[in-house]
Symmetry: C2
Subunit: 346 residues, 2 copies
């Protein structure tokens, strides 16, 4: 069986790739990076835990992609350019060659993430190689340098990835959650709900077919961080957030931050049922939800055209009322859900 | 029972403390920080896992201190000034109020870290309050801002903390592992081995008494990151590392990075037995191990006096030989251990 160090060397060492924004990568007590002048750093950290954020049976290449992509989405929501990422990894005890003594960071990457009773191939590195392929495919696509990490072992069934990501944004230009103004319009990118529908399909709660099934599974397994959109919205959006918990829940964060309310009239809202619930309350989509003054509508629609990404005006920010959010259908009937969501998705 | 949000609000919200180096702390998709001009950022990440890095029965206030202190030690070893830290936390399932849906970051701090069968008081916040006291005591002592985090739940017995820390160092002045030159002297701070002896005492493998016991337990539970020393060594040390794995093991990293060897003659090396093994191979001390040209000895001794911290010349860097490290006693006999260590400590 390959040792941990052999596996890391085999799958995660990238000898020839230049690190464009990095003075010193892995292999010392810390990495050294040189931020651009007149920029602020945007920093975000996330945990992905087996059984909570991903299934033990998750396909490893997609899991590698998603592990990074959901963090890139936080950079998108801040209007930042992602530059650097660190990856911590807690692996299961069954993988015998993981040492108990913790800290080391030769290349800072995971060794194995699967109980051997399910994934015997993990010990020959296949699972690991696939995870690394997905992670680096995402890193390369978006120009992010992996600059460090830590690998240690933990109990079976508790495989955990910990990602911290750093991006740059010119001073004062970050998109915040807190800037929504009364009268602003509310916009969302893409197709909210697809990831939740894909999950529902996998769980046997609905049956999707054809292209729609493919799109929903792609949204679930290979989310696309809306980084170009985040950059384009600098100076245009008054507030922004990425949809990770569900559209109504994340809109709630924007409204709370500005102490305002909202009425939604969503042009493409499905008529009823699971598809509507997924749109309003399904998490894991990583679309951007943002507000902007009505006068910016033409610029936003031009962005949509340029990025070939739907951007829909779904409502209006109002002065604070007792109801934080009301949702109306095309006929003007109040169809506000009794709860902000999640009934179908927990 | 207090909910998760109530516990966080109670123990981890610090309404009045100004964040000196931080534009925007927790509560958005990311934190915003503004690095100083002409500085490089030093970034390091570490995992602490229950059962591997700390006992389930660990005293929570000390655990909170140590969780941050071991990361500050990486900043010390790079000669950096620590500025910001993020904290991720995976908590056990028994703590019922931790939601399954993951990502949130109101203040980014842990909720509970102990199985309820052992720590019934964790649910009333006592364990948590103590952890927070220790963590913030360390953060305040060293001027570090907590800028974000993530809390999620995982299986029992797998409580995990993930820390990423960021510091600043003027461009080109970071202390690296890789600069050792043939002829340099090798220095170490403080009293290596104390943490390992403290652990051996707790495990019944030795019996310590009085002040020595207190010092060894303090080294184990409340390590002091050698930050002032790291700053003082900028421009003086040719290489540096912190002793986390054991003196010989960490010296090996320095020697490997420069492809050199070393002879050690350690003035205060214990004569034999557990104390000697602890000195040479005990990890978890977080002293600084560094090299410097012989001409810098007076400056180093002046540092020791100013910082009231022992700094000992323990050996010399040599051209690479077959033996990476040889250890000699005061009479000149070769007492090199057969292995670099850990027999007593794993």
């Amino acid at each position: 069986m390959a040792s941990e160090f052999e596996l890391i060397a085999k799958h995660f060492t990238r000898p020839s790739r230049p690190l464009h924004h990095t003075e010193l990568g892995v292999g010392d007590d810390g990495a050294l990076v040189r931020p651009a002048a007149n920029c602020e750093l945007v920093i975000s950290t996330d945990l992905l835990v087996e059984g909570t954020h991903f299934f033990s049976e998750a396909e490893p290449e997609s899991l590698g992609w998603k592990t990074l992509a959901v963090n890139l989405s936080d950079m998108a929501a801040m209007g930042a350019v992602p530059r650097w990422v660190t990856l911590g990894c807690v692996l299961c005890n069954e993988f015998n060659s993981v040492p108990s003594s913790g800290h080391f960071r030769p290349v800072g990457l995971p060794v194995s993430t699967a109980p051997t009773d399910k994934f015997a191939h993990s010990t020959d590195g296949g699972w690991l190689a696939a995870f690394a392929r997905g992670f680096f495919a995402c890193a390369d696509r978006y120009g992010v340098d992996l600059i460090g990490g830590d690998t240690t072992r933990g109990p079976a069934g508790a495989t955990t990835f910990s990602v911290t990501i750093f991006g740059e944004v010119p001073r004062g230009q970050a998109l915040l959650r807190s800037g929504a103004q009364i009268g602003d319009h509310i916009w969302v990118s893409g197709y909210p709900g697809r990831a939740a529908l894909g999950l529902a399909h996998l769980q046997g709660r609905t049956v999707l077919q054809g292209c729609h099934l493919d799109e929903c599974l792609a949204a679930l397994h290979r989310p696309i961080p809306r980084l170009e959109l985040g950059l384009a919205l600098r100076g245009i959006a008054s507030s922004a957030i990425d949809v990770s918990d569900g559209l109504l829940a994340d809109l709630g964060h924007i409204l709370d931050a500005a102490n305002v309310s909202a009425h939604l009239r969503i042009p493409d809202l499905p008529d009823a049922g699971l598809a509507r619930d997924a749109y309003l309350a399904g998490g894991d989509d990583y679309e951007l939800l943002f507000t902007a003054a009505p006068t910016r509508a033409d610029e936003i629609l031009a962005c949509a055209e340029q990025l070939k990404l739907p951007l829909r005006d779904i409502g209006t920010v109002l002065a604070a009322t007792g109801d934080k959010v009301k949702v109306f259908d095309r006929q003007g009937f109040d169809i506000t859900p009794a709860r902000r969501g999640f009934d179908h998705f927990e």
